[in-house]
């Protein structure tokens, strides 16, 4: 899990869907080993691309509605939301370089 801000079923709409900035959501749980491994990677992305994206996390145990709404069946699942829609998804713990590639178009500094 990352040290990103916790988002819940209750505030997902305002924090993610209505966010004007693209938002990376880390769906995670305490019992998920790979989630632990992915945490520092997302923290690094949050720090390096603070201008471009927000990074938040959703605990799927505590917030089943959101996880179910987006059909999450594997965690860690990293979803990038832009303008209230799912723009990109990435399943599994991956290294920073792989996530940078997958989410590349949202991470490049805007001109």
């Amino acid at each position: 899990m990352s040290s990103a801000k916790d988002v819940t079923d209750a505030n997902f709409r305002t924090e993610v869907l209505e966010n004007t900035k693209p938002t990376i959501v880390d769906f995670w749980a305490e019992w998920c080993g790979p989630c632990r491994q992915l945490g520092p990677v997302l923290d690094a992305i949050a720090a390096e691309y603070a201008e471009q994206v927000d990074v938040v996390k959703v605990n799927v145990d505590d917030n089943p509605a959101i996880a179910s709404e987006y059909g999450i069946t594997s965690i860690p699942a990293v979803y990038l939301f832009a303008n209230g829609e799912v723009a990109k998804t990435s399943i599994g713990a991956k290294p920073k370089s792989a996530l940078e590639k997958e989410f590349g178009e949202y991470l490049t500094p805007s001109a």
Partner: protein
């Protein structure tokens, strides 16, 4: 002990992954590591960390290239480990690995959460290059890269990964509450997965291509005794069905050839693993099982100064404790090798 991992976590090959964490020392000088280390250890499962504990205690200041998201290895994706000696009530896999890591650090091991992209193992000084381009030089190298999960090799397997196809019951079982799922395989880890999944799923169908399990007796009995587990013998998965998510499996009876369909919301693949040798396969001799060939009970590979330990040398046992033992063997072999070089 469960042996399953998340599809990308452990399936990610060390050679294609990227560095996520850099120690402050490296950040200062990203491309050069001037020291010639006594020993560099590639991999951080029980073999890698045990080798690190032993070589650190022998004052060789080992550098462990632990991997950016694979650190800790397979046990990071397990829950309760019941068969690692010394833990009366069992221990959680991630906790066991964290303990090993701290134990190695206590004696001075330098653990770096970086991924190795290439190695040059010939010659007296070996080089190991990590994702950010840093080249480490070492007199001895221990390869303990473990193994990675085997796939079914079906066309829709990759597409439906994370959408019902999984390699990790402990990660994903939760999402199949009150659903019906299948587990493919017949070894200990397949039964471990199936048993774990009964906590969540309504029904677990264990699909095995033979007419008996390879699994140990205690695990077999667990499967036979579990009212939620149904076993389909002599059956192979011919296809995975589903548009956005898994809806059913197409099955084939391996004896009669008869086709059938099994509606499931999820399929967990537990058909074994392959040694992770892509980094070294062109430089070290491999066995018919595609493991790194070692001399007898030692960790000595086909190149002097290069040692191998853990699942990457073991086609047979592949337990946390055998990997740890194997890591110890490699550390002692390194000690002898370096002592001989210095004498």
């Amino acid at each position: 002990m469960s042996n399953q991992s998340g599809i990308f976590s452990n399936a990610v090959n060390l050679s294609v992954t990227g560095a996520a964490q850099t120690s402050p020392a490296d950040a200062a000088d990203a491309s050069q590591d001037d020291a010639v280390h006594d020993v560099v250890i590639v991999g951080s499962g029980p073999a890698g960390y045990t080798a690190a504990i032993y070589t650190a205690r022998a004052n060789f200041a080992p550098v462990v290239l632990a991997g950016s998201v694979t650190a800790g290895g397979e046990l990071m994706n397990t829950t309760e480990v019941e068969n690692y000696p010394g833990f009366v009530d069992g221990i959680m896999g991630p906790e066991l690995m964290e303990n090993m890591q701290q134990q190695a650090e206590r004696f001075g091991a330098d653990i770096r959460y970086e991924d190795v992209v290439s190695v040059e193992l010939d010659g007296e000084i070996k080089t190991v290059t990590v994702e950010d381009g840093t080249v480490l030089r070492a007199r001895a190298v221990i390869i303990s890269t473990g193994s990675e999960y085997r796939k079914l090799g079906l066309p829709d397997e990759e597409r439906l990964s994370g959408h019902g196809v999984s390699w990790c019951a402990t990660c994903d079982g939760f999402f199949f509450k009150d659903r019906e799922v299948a587990v493919v395989g017949g070894g200990d880890s397949a039964i471990e997965e199936a048993t774990f999944l009964t906590k969540f799923a309504d029904k677990v169908t264990l699909i095995h291509r033979r007419d008996q399990f390879r699994a140990s007796d205690i695990m077999k009995q667990r499967a036979f005794d579990d009212p939620k587990i149904e076993i389909l013998w002599n059956t192979r998965v011919a296809a995975i069905q589903g548009e956005d998510k898994v809806t059913a499996l197409s099955l084939e009876d391996t004896v009669t050839g008869e086709a059938s369909e099994l509606p499931v919301a999820g399929v967990f693949v537990a058909i074994g693993s392959d040694p992770r040798v892509s980094l070294v396969k062109d430089q070290l001799e491999l066995t018919v099982d595609n493991t790194i060939a070692v001399d007898g009970r030692s960790s000595t590979t086909s190149l002097p100064g290069v040692f191998a330990a853990g699942d990457v040398v073991d086609p047979t046992y592949r337990q946390a404790i055998t990997a740890a033992g194997s890591g110890c063997v490699a550390a002692v072999d390194v000690e002898h090798y370096l002592a001989a070089l210095d004498s």
